[in-house]
């Protein structure tokens, strides 16, 4: 088991801060949970804990970016996107400013705190901001790559961070580029496109399917926007069926993006593994993922269904 992507975020930000003096960080009183404190304790003059004010935090980032800084702002995904949405719209998306948003505690795998803290709509909301890059790294190595890619990219970026420890799915030297899906396993029977914690589940599912003689291609589609249309088109031509797996509600996330890409290229049947159109509840992370249907087992079931439609 690797580290949580939120922990990797803090370390990557610290690393970035050592070489780029324009990088500043703001948090809204969750710095020890989002791990922005890893940066903050090293660079107190470039770190602003603005208190419990997500809307103001986004506006302040807008001003900092307008005056040449590269602000990384962090909070729980549910708070920064829901409470800061208008500010992200007017102050980051519309003027295409260099604002980097880190939404921690994405998905329901945060567990016991329950629905108020579980972000299941953040990817849809971020995708609804024109010009935003929207990225959900699967493990600590992908997160490190994503933070550096965010700093190198001129424009607004949304990164989703996870609370629990994330299984390692990538090499430590993974080449990470926004908008470029990473193939983790090849196969020709179907493609499993996943991101975040569901990438590890996809690999387990592919192993299980392989035991039954079904070879699945597994793509880590970490960037939902811009979606990697080329990789999806290639997978569609070469495998002809898809399962999309993500820790998000059914609408507006990776599933929607993959379906849109397929409809514009070579269509193929798709089955979806996601939360559906609902909220979850309190519970242990593993119990929740199982109850709400986002496990390798569900992916295997979806694969069987989609193969019957092929």
């Amino acid at each position: 088991m690797g580290r949580a992507t939120r922990e990797a975020y803090g370390e990557a930000l610290l690393e970035l801060g050592k070489t780029n003096r324009d990088v500043v960080a703001i948090d809204a009183d969750l710095a020890k949970s989002t791990f922005s404190w890893t940066f903050g304790k090293e660079f107190p003059e470039r770190f602003f804990n603005i208190g419990i004010q997500e809307a103001n935090m986004v506006g302040v980032a807008s001003g900092l970016a307008s005056s040449g800084k590269i602000p990384f702002i962090s909070s729980f995904a549910a708070f920064v996107l829901c409470k800061g949405f208008d500010q992200l719209r007017m102050g980051a998306a519309y003027p295409q400013l260099n604002v980097k948003v880190a939404g921690s505690h994405g998905g329901i795998s945060i567990g016991e705190d329950g629905v108020s803290q579980q972000s299941v709509e953040d990817v849809a909301l971020a995708c609804a901001l024109p010009g935003f890059v929207v990225c959900i790294p699967a493990d600590e190595y992908a997160m490190r790559g994503a933070v550096h890619a965010a700093a190198a990219h001129h424009g607004p970026v949304y990164l989703r961070l996870g609370r629990p420890k994330a299984p390692i799915v990538h090499e430590s030297t993974v080449r990470f580029e926004f908008g470029k899906a990473i193939q983790l396993r090849d196969g020709d029977a179907l493609t499993i496109a996943a991101n975040g914690l569901l990438v590890a589940e996809a690999l387990l599912a592919a192993e299980e399917l392989s035991g039954r003689g079904i070879e699945a291609r597994v793509l880590d589609v970490h960037t939902v926007k811009p979606i990697d249309r080329a990789a999806i088109e290639r997978a569609s031509r070469e495998t002809g069926a898809f399962v999309v797996a993500e820790e998000h509600m059914h609408h507006g996330g990776l599933g929607s993006a993959v379906a849109q890409a397929l409809s514009m290229g070579t269509p193929a049947p798709v089955e979806y593994v996601d939360l559906g159109d609902r909220y979850a509840e309190s519970g242990k992370p593993g119990d929740l993922m199982k109850k709400y249907g986002m496990t390798a087992e569900q992916i295997v079931g979806a694969a069987e269904r989609v193969l019957r439609r092929k």
Binding site: V24, Q53, A55, V60, A61, L64, S66, S67, K69, P95
Partner: protein, 277 residues
């Protein structure tokens, strides 16, 4: 450095204010759309800043890193700012008459990156003060001496984000940040007093650790004094509550909230221009 501010006499400033008002009513009439009331109330504030030697800026270099920032948080008042920017040479005055038309840089509300001299995209009320804090923090980090000015409406101060920002700016002791409230006493649906009173507004800002000054927002001398006072280094940001008249300068628009968001007719425009001659 071409950034030396233009300083003109008070008589000239009054003439500038009249010119800006003429632009405002003409451009809104041409667009047959816009917000005359809250544009006209802000004219002396904008005139003093841009023509009274207050703002350090250079119209030939809108992205000069050391320029003062002026953020129009009450974005619906942008005709007043467009008129001032055009008169200061940021773009040709002819362009004013394209307000709110397709392909125009004179968008209905301010758009950063589109119109030279516009520092923030606003129009969704309550956001400018937060953005101003960002600029002021950047100035502090980079040890730059520029000042950041944010113009808000009084009705706008009903937005919760204004008070998030007020709390933060006070606690961060942002001496280089000044909020100006164009207090014309009206909002779209009626008076601020009857809808959701802000009183006592000055005491609220003072309680949030701001230096507070109140003045007549149409008295150019009083405004220039207040702006000079705002530049005095102290351990807190300054809030200038400028008491104004909505629709100021056109008799039938003054304190007539019908002209919050309605353009004058051709006949009304003729009367207005005669009054502003």
């Amino acid at each position: 450095m071409a950034a030396a501010p233009a300083t003109v006499s008070h008589t000239d400033l009054e003439q500038v204010a009249r010119t800006l008002r003429r632009h405002i009513v003409r451009m809104i009439a041409a667009a047959n759309s816009g917000h005359p009331g809250g544009s006209l109330s802000a004219v002396e504030i904008v005139t003093a800043l841009y023509f009274g030697g207050v703002l350090r800026h250079d119209p030939t270099r809108p992205d000069w890193p050391d320029r003062d920032r002026f953020i129009l948080s009450k974005g619906h008042g942008v005709p007043a700012l467009y008129a001032a920017l055009a008169e200061r040479g940021y773009f040709p005055t002819d362009e004013l008459m394209t307000l709110r038309q397709v392909d125009s840089r004179m968008q209905g509300h301010p758009v950063q990156g589109v119109t030279p001299g516009i520092e923030a995209s606003t129009g969704s009320l309550g956001q400018g003060l937060s953005i101003g804090i960002g600029h002021a923090l950047a100035a502090r980090l980079d040890r730059r001496a520029f000042h950041t000015w944010v113009l808000m409406g009084d009705g706008e101060c009903q937005e919760g984000q204004v008070w998030e920002a007020a709390m933060t700016a006070g606690n961060y002791e942002l001496s280089s940040l000044t909020a100006i409230v164009d207090s014309n006493r009206f909002q779209l649906d009626g008076t601020v007093e009857e809808i959701n009173s802000l009183a006592p507004l000055g005491e609220k800002f003072a309680a949030f650790k701001w230096h507070v000054v109140e003045c007549d927002g149409h008295d150019l001398s009083a405004l220039l004094d207040a702006f000079a006072d705002a530049r005095v280094p102290r351990d807190r940001p300054t809030c200038i509550i400028a008491h104004t008249v909505k629709g100021k300068g056109v008799t039938f628009m003054e304190n007539n909230n019908e002209f919050h968001g309605k353009a004058p007719t051709r006949e009304q425009l003729a009367v207005a221009l005669a009054q502003l001659a």
